[in-house]
Subunit: 139 residues, 2 copies
DNA sequence: ATCTGTGCAAATAGTTTGCATCCTC
DNA sequence: GAGGATGCAAACTATTTGCACAGAT
């Protein structure tokens, strides 16, 4: 079952009705491997109102079908949650390019922190900032 | 030498002149152990214009005297950079409380990722989201 | 005297909300 | 037919910019 089918099912269970705007946002996210911003989604879906993009993303986030990636002060991107797929991001400080990576050792270390903390840790984000290969060439 | 003295010196070297607004922002940050938002700084310094708060934070960030902590979609906080002191944050999803932590194993793991990557990694952020002890009690 | 730093107000960018209308159930 | 879903426009929040003036060198 694809992510978009799951999403549709979960939304249905949660009592949401089917609508064109949400379906389009979901289809777009289905085709993305990594994070996209709300405004990018909006501009790629001219038939969908901006407010609907934000509303849909909020709903999907609450149902844990999507999660936020905070990239800089301003830019916030969203990507779908695929069970079993868990990655973090490197962002190029020059061109803004976002590159996913995963690292088991890092996950273990984070899990270890959660164990020892008073917090009940629910989720985590890791962001590496640096210069991507392409921008390194440019000097 | 205190952080604020270092900051003053570094700003001077960089060709900045001394001004009242920047001095007050720096003094406020000197007294903070963890991150504060631009708006909080603004409201605690009524004599300083909001624009000056943002300008000062931008300058301090460029001189690596301060760095951003991205906490949620909206909230961005700043804290001073103390050489030798490097910590990350847990944020409570209920009350927004920010709690610093440090973990050598986590740092090693992150360093390891940087080694293997094509990116030239300059800095990193880790954020754990969860429920703080106080909010756990409230149910 | 010069030229930077500052405060104010206006502009901007991203996001949220109000509301009339459309569409699903 | 009732009530949620949607688009539009207005409201809001955080941040940035333009500009005249005060203040540092």
């Amino acid at each position: 079952m694809s992510w978009s089918e799951q999403a549709a099912g979960r939304l249905n269970e949660a009592g949401f009705r089917a609508g064109a705007a949400r379906r389009q946002v979901i289809e777009l996210l289905e085709g993305e491997h990594c994070a996209v911003t709300a405004l990018e989604i909006d501009s790629r879906l001219p038939a969908v109102g901006r407010a609907s993009v934000y509303r849909t993303l909020e709903q999907l986030e609450q149902l844990d079908l999507v999660h936020r990636v905070d990239v800089g002060a301003d830019v916030v991107a969203f990507e779908r949650n695929d069970p079993g797929e868990h990655h973090h991001h490197m962002v190029c400080v020059r061109c803004g390019r976002l590159v996913p990576f995963e690292d088991p050792a890092l996950e273990r270390a984070i899990h270890g922190v959660g164990e020892g903390a008073e917090f009940e840790v629910l989720s985590h984000d890791v962001l590496l900032r640096g210069v991507c290969p392409r921008c390194q060439e440019k000097g």
